[in-house]
């Protein structure tokens, strides 16, 4: 796979831009805000040095893909698939929406489907694995609606693991994907 072909993913009304160095301060500002930080497992302040080190790691690993979500010309959040294990065929997706105007709207799911096509069709992963804090009810609900299932022996864990197989993702998204393809004349 040649990543340069996938620097921009544009589909379903959103555009995803592969994270570049000039955006890492913007991302750091978003990530350090209490409204985003409180939903993350790592809640300490991220310094510019930590961010730089992190970017060097993710931009050279070949296993981490972070994109800025653009909708109608506005940068509204970040979506990613990280720690991809090509042998196991799995990786951990994540998304956060910085701009509150778009929370609870269709836009995050449009971004998620756009990223999903990259995950399933380009990276050809077999499953996505996520970790969600047990008290993040909204994220659990959203991910269950997408087809994620709680992994075995996770009931008493605080940062719980959920899994979504490619088959379940396709099954759950079939109707909405058909609508999106029609809406966007694809």
């Amino acid at each position: 796979m040649e990543l340069s072909e996938y620097e921009t993913l544009s589909k379903y009304g959103v555009t995803l831009h592969l994270l570049t160095h000039d955006k890492i301060e913007l991302l750091r500002t978003w990530r350090n805000h209490p409204k985003i930080q409180k939903r993350m497992e790592f809640r300490e302040e991220i310094t510019p040095e930590m961010q730089e080190k992190w970017f060097q790691k993710i931009s050279t690993s070949g296993r981490d893909f972070y994109y800025i979500i653009e909708y109608q010309g506005k940068e509204i959040g970040c979506i990613n698939i990280r720690d991809v294990d090509f042998e196991k065929g799995e990786g951990e997706p994540g998304i956060f929406i910085w701009d509150d105007d778009y929370l609870g709207t269709d836009v995050p799911t449009r971004a998620s489907f756009c990223m999903g096509d990259f995950v399933w069709d380009v990276l050809k992963l077999k499953r996505e694995v996520i970790h969600v804090l047990k008290d993040n009810k909204q994220a659990i609900l959203y991910n269950k609606q997408k087809g994620f299932k709680l992994s075995p022996n996770q009931e008493d864990v605080y940062n719980q693991e959920y899994t979504l197989t490619a088959e379940d993702a396709a099954k759950k998204s079939k109707r909405i994907k058909a609508f999106l393809l029609k809406e966007n004349n694809l």
Binding site: G104, Q145, K182
Partner: protein, 78 residues
């Protein structure tokens, strides 16, 4: 186009919601089960059932189910 039928169609977009708990004055985005996925599912349902293509802004600007119903109705009449 009747509002009761619209409410039933809206309820179908949730995995588990009692349709009787929904009324025209329900602020749908405050429902516990409302998520971005449901929002997109509602847009798809409105396209399928009413042949109206809503934009994200239409969902964003509507507060109650009745607001959404009226938006769909006015777009049907355009």
């Amino acid at each position: 186009m009747e509002i009761n039928e619209f409410i039933e169609n809206l309820a179908d977009q949730f995995d588990d919601i009692d349709v009787a708990s929904l009324t025209p004055t329900t602020v749908f985005k405050e429902l516990e089960d409302w998520t971005s996925l449901v929002a997109l599912s509602v847009i798809a349902m409105i396209d399928e059932e009413y042949d109206v293509l809503l934009k994200g802004e239409d969902i964003k600007n509507a507060s109650t189910i009745e607001d959404l119903f009226n938006t769909v109705k006015s777009k049907q009449e355009e």
